[in-house]
Amino acid sequence: MQGGRRSFLKMAGGTALAAGALPGMTSCAQQAVAHGTGKRLAMVVDLQVCSQHGDCTECAKACHLAHNVPSFPKGEGALEPNVKYDEIKWIWKEDFEHAFPTEENHYLPARVTARQLPVLCNHCDNPPCVRVCPTKATFKRESDGIVMMDWHRCIGCRYCVVACPYGSRSFNWWNPRPYIAKINPQFPTRMKGVVEKCTFCEERIARNQKPACVEACPHGAMVFGDLNQEGSDVRMRLTSGFSIRRKPELGTQPEVYYLV
């Protein structure tokens, strides 16, 4: 057979190359990260309830009061006219199309899409902010899955701000102390040059309290608990209704669920 050895070698080389490249390709298409078997704290927001109260921001108010979140002046009195995005927020209300930019189905009911909904750190199972943090100031707590921040270690590089696909992280461009309306002495403030975000109220959970936003919600639209515990509130709510998560296609495995 003419050229038999030549074509055989070509084929063998090609196969070897493909086999070698396979692990690299599959690692890009990362498998869903499991919740594990231990405690896994998660939040469920019932939009059927929440969206009935469009103007309500009790969750954000309670959170920002409890955690000494500053409010920098905007517009005329802004600290620096060129810095437009110096807002600090842990939990806030967002338009549906901004919170769920890939939910593109036509003619979605207005009760879902027309109202704003609360968004916060998703405490992802596969958090990109943790991966990029050069000082491990942001880290994943193995004990309950909280994406925690150690502000002592934050050097203000803002890699995490870029990495987070949910905009959950804010950077203190200014010293926040003078712009905190009422300082809660039980919780630290931050300093200039530090990133901050929601910590699922880990300081309250340690005292067997619910997160401040969940406790403050006057309509009971937020539920918090252990996703891996059978019969927990969050599990019951997720099995009883249809829920969506923000940008699940990115593979971050967010742990804040929205019942629609």
Partner: protein
């Protein structure tokens, strides 16, 4: 050595001048002592021994350890002093007794010319500026 006499005298003068604060204090018999305010609430026991200087020498390391345990490991076991439980917390525990930061923390830190950044974030109780 050339001009050994001049050099030795020069060195002696240099040491004498730079050590002025030491020998002046010794000569006058008054050494500089920082007066720290006792806890206004009358507490007599601290979370570490005070009399032998342990607290003075180790408090910063203890606070680092508390910080690492609470923030990074989530270990919030209480510190027990004479049967009473305390949080591992600068604001709640330390400043809970030593309510006047200016008359306690600052006096020593100023004298030692150290500027700890604790209070950039941690809150000093009302009236304790």
């Amino acid at each position: 050595m050339y001009d050994a006499g001049k050099i030795v005298v020069g060195l002696a003068v240099l040491v004498g001048v730079t050590a002025f604060p030491v020998w002046y204090g010794l000569a006058r018999g008054t050494t500089y002592r920082v007066q720290l305010e006792a806890p206004p609430n009358g507490a007599t026991e601290c979370v570490l021994p005070v009399k032998d200087g342990t607290m003075r020498a180790e408090h910063m390391h203890m606070l680092d350890q508390w910080r690492n345990e609470v923030v990074r490991e989530g270990v919030r076991n209480k510190v027990v002093v004479s049967g009473r439980e305390w949080d591992k917390s600068l604001t709640k525990t330390c400043l809970g007794c030593h309510t006047n930061k200016a008359a306690f923390c600052d006096r020593c830190h100023d004298a030692a010319a150290v500027k700890p950044s604790c209070w950039d974030c941690h809150v000093v109780p009302e009236g304790g500026q």
